[in-house]
Amino acid sequence: MSDMRMSSTVADARNRARRLFDGAEFDESLEVAERGLAEAPDDVELLVLAGRAGVEAGAPAAVDHLRRATELAPDDAGAWHHLGEALAAEGRMEEADQAFRRTVELDPEDQVALTHLGHTALATGRNEEGVGYLARAADIAHAFSTASVSLVDMYRSFGQYGEALEHARRVAHATADDPLGWLDVAELSLQVGRLDESRTTFDRLRELDDVPGHEAYPLHGMLLVEIRRQRWDAAEDLAGQALTIDPHGLGTDVAAFTRAQHGEAPEGAEPPPTQVEVEQALFSSLADYRRVLADSRRLGAGDIVG
C-alpha cells in the first residue's frame, strides 16, 4: 500500500501506537493499533505494533497479530522475531523455536534471535544444538552477551570447564558487580587447576559480596584451593578464620582436618574427617552459595511487575 493511498487514520494509528509503545503505555498502544487494524486488517506494521504491545500488556491476542503479520510478510525477519518472543512469553517453546529458526534463516546475524533460539532449543531438550546457537551468538557479540551467561552453565554441565571458564571470565568482567560471575570464574579455574586464578578470584569475591551471612562461603572456596595446593599452613589459617564466623559448622571439621595434616592428634575421640569428606563438604557449601547468588541475580536485571 503506497503512502498516497494509505488512509490518514491508519497512518495516524501507526504513529500513535508507536509513540505509546515507546512511552511504555502498552495497553493504550495495543488499543490504538487494534482500532487501526479495524480499518486496515492487513497492515503488517500495525499488526507487529499490536503484537508487541500485546506481549508487554500480557494480551492473549498478541500471538495472533504477529502470526498474521508473518503470513502477510513471510520474509520479514522482525515479524518472526517478535512472534517468537510472544510465543516464548506464553511458554509455547516448540512454536517459539520454529519462529526464531525462521528469523535466523532470514537474518543470520541477528544475535538476539540466535540467543533466543539457543534457549528455546535448550528448553525443548536439544542441549547440544542449543549450545551451538548460543556459541554463534556469543561470537557475533564478541564480548559479553546473554548467550555467554547460559554458556557458562551449559559447558559446565558438559564437563567442558575450559570453555565454561572462558565465558565466565567474559561475564564476570562485563558484570563486575555480580558476585555470581566471579564465583563461576573461581570455581571453574579451580576445576581446570588454575589455582592462583581461583584463589585470587575467591579473594575478590570475599571483597565484593557484602551480604551479611555470606562471609563463610568465599572462605570455603579459598580453603578448597589451599587444600588442593596442600598448603596446610594457609589452610589452617583459613580454617581458623572460618571458625570465628562459624563456630559449630564446617570450620570445626576443616580445622580438625588441617591439624591432622600437621600430625597433631585430634582433640576429641572421633578421627578427623578425610580429605574427600572435607572437599565434598566445601563443594556442597559452594553449591549453596551458587544457589543464593543465582536467586539474587535477577535483582540486578529488568523489572518484573505484575
Binding site: V55, E56, G58, E85, A88, A89, E90, G91, A96, V112, T115, H116, H119, L122, A123, T146, S150, D153, T175, D177, D178, G181, E207, D210, V211, P212, G213, H214, E215, A216, Y217, I245, D246, H248, G249, L250, T252, D253, E270, P273, E277, A281, S285, D288, Y289, R290, R291, A294, D295, S296, R297, R298, L299, G300, A301, G302, D303, I304, V305, G306
Partner: protein, 579 residues
Amino acid sequence: MADLATTATRAVSTEWFRCPACQAFVYHKRLKRNLGVCPECNHHFRLKLSERLAQLLDTDSFEERSGDLEPLDALSFVDSKPYTDRIRDAQRKTGLRAGAVYGTGTIDSLPVVVAAIDFAFIGGSMSGAVGEAITRAAELALETRTPLLVISASGGARMQEGCISLMQMAKTTQAVARLAEEGVLFMSLLTDPTYGGVSASYATLGDVLISEPGAHIGFAGPTVIEQTIREQLPDGFQTAEFLLEHGMLDIVEPRENLRRTIRNLLDLHAAAEAARQNRDGGTAAQLPSPEGAAPVTDPAQITVREPWEVVQLARHIDRPRMLDLVGFTFDEFHELRGDRLFGEDAAIVGGLARLGELTVMVLGQQKGHTTSELMEHNFGMPEPEGYRKGMRLMRYAARFKLPLVTLVDTPGAYPGLGAEQRGQSVAISESIMLMSRLPVPIVTVVTGEGGSGGALALATSDRVLMMENAYYSVISPEGCSTILFKDASAAPRAAKVLRITSPELLALGVMDAIVPEPPEGAQTDPAASGANLRAAIIASLARLLQLHREELLAQRYERFRKFGAPGLQPVLPPITGET
C-alpha cells in the same frame, strides 16, 4: 529514588534466567507474567523492591516519603574501603538512596502505610536508615491509625554501623510495640531471605506474619549454621514452610495470592476500626439479622434422649465439625496459625471471620471426617501449642477489640509425654485465666464433644451455649465408668449419671441456651444446624455488644462464681427409674 535510578548500572542484563531450583531456562517476559515465579517448578524468584510494591499496591498509589533518607556513617568506619564508598557503590548498583523506602499507598482502595527493604542494597542489612524508614512508617501508621505493612528481606545487621545497627532492633521494635498498644494493624511480610537483626526484631512481631513458599527465614545466617560433615539438618530447614510448621508464621501464600490475602486482612480490620471509632467491642448494628431457629432457654423444650445416644450423636463421623460450621456460620474466614513458640497445632483452628459487617475472632477444635483429616487434626485433641496459639489469637482479639467466638469439640486435651513436657496444664490454666479477663465479648458453643479442661480452656466465656446433641463432661463416660463403676462397659450408665446432656446442663446453669438441631441430629442437615448456630451466635453477641467492658467482666465473673455456691447453684432432682 529517581535521580539515582538513571545513573544505576545493571549488574546483569539478560533475557533468559536459569531457575536456581529446577535449572529450567525461563524467558524473562514469561517470568514477568508469572509474577517472578518459575512456571516449571513454582520457585519464587526474589523480587526487586519496585516489583514487589507494584505487585501488591494499586497502580500509581504509592507515595514515597523517604526521599530524604540516606545511610549515616556514624562510626566513620573503614575496612578495606571507607563505608561511605560502600554506600555509594550500593546506591549506584540499586538506584536507591537508603536501602529501604516507606510511604503510603492503597490495596484495592484500602489505605496502608508501607515500608520495604531492598535486599540488593548491601544485602538488605539493617542500617540506621533502614531502621529509620521502618520506624517512621510505624509512627505514621500510629498517627493516622492506618494499617502498616512492612516488607522485609535482609541478611542481618549492618556491621559497618556497629552498635547503631544493633540499636535499630530496639528502635523498630518499640515503634511497632506502640502500634500493638493502640490496636493499629501491623502486617509483616517476610520475603526471601530474612535473617538476624531483622528477623529478631520488628519483622517477627507483626499481628500477622506472612511469607512466600520457600522463603528462607532464620536467626543465624545460612552458612553460620551450615551442617558439619557428620550432621544433617532437617529437610526444608529455615524455609517458610518449616517456620509455619513450628508455629512461627501465620500464612505462607503463593505470590499470586498475596495481594488478595493482604487485602482481605485490611478489609476485616477496616470494619473493626469502624466499630472501634463507634464503640468498644464492635457494634450490634454490624450484625446481620438471624435466619435460623432461635436458641432455646427452657430445658423442657428439648427432646429428651438417652445420654449415651447423645454421646454417639456428638461423636458421629458425619456430624458437622468446626470448619464445616464456620463455613455455615460466618460470611468469611481467614485462618491464622502458630503459637510463635514451638509448633503449629491443627487440633485448634483460629482466625478472623466476618459476621455480617462485624469482624470477629473465631477459635475452635477441629476434628474432620476422614481418617487423614482426623490424623491431621489429632482427633481434635490439642497439644499445648494449640492452646498457646489460641491465647495468641485471644490477645489479638483484645488488641483490636474484636468479639471472640469459640466452638468447642474435643474429646479432651492430648495426654502425651511431649504435651506434659511442654506444659499442657499450664497452657490450659493460662487460657482459662486469659479468657476470664479478656476485655471483649466471648460467646462459646459446645458443638460436639465438650471434653473436660481441654474444652473449658476455650469456654470461659460470657455466653456458653451448646448444640442440642452435644455433650459436656468432666471426664469421658468410658473413663468414669472404669474409675467409678470398675467396668468399662458401664459407659452408658456413666453418661446418664454425669448429667452431660444439654437440657441437664441448661438446668444446672452451666449452659445459657441450647442451639436446636434437626430431629435426627446435626449430621442429617449440617446447613440447617449451621443456620441455627449462626442465629444463636448473633443473638448472644447482640446482647453482649450492648455492655461496657466493666459490666461484661463483672457479669462473666458472676457467671462462673455461682457454680457450687450454696444458694446459687441449682440442684437436679434424682434420676427416676433404673440407672
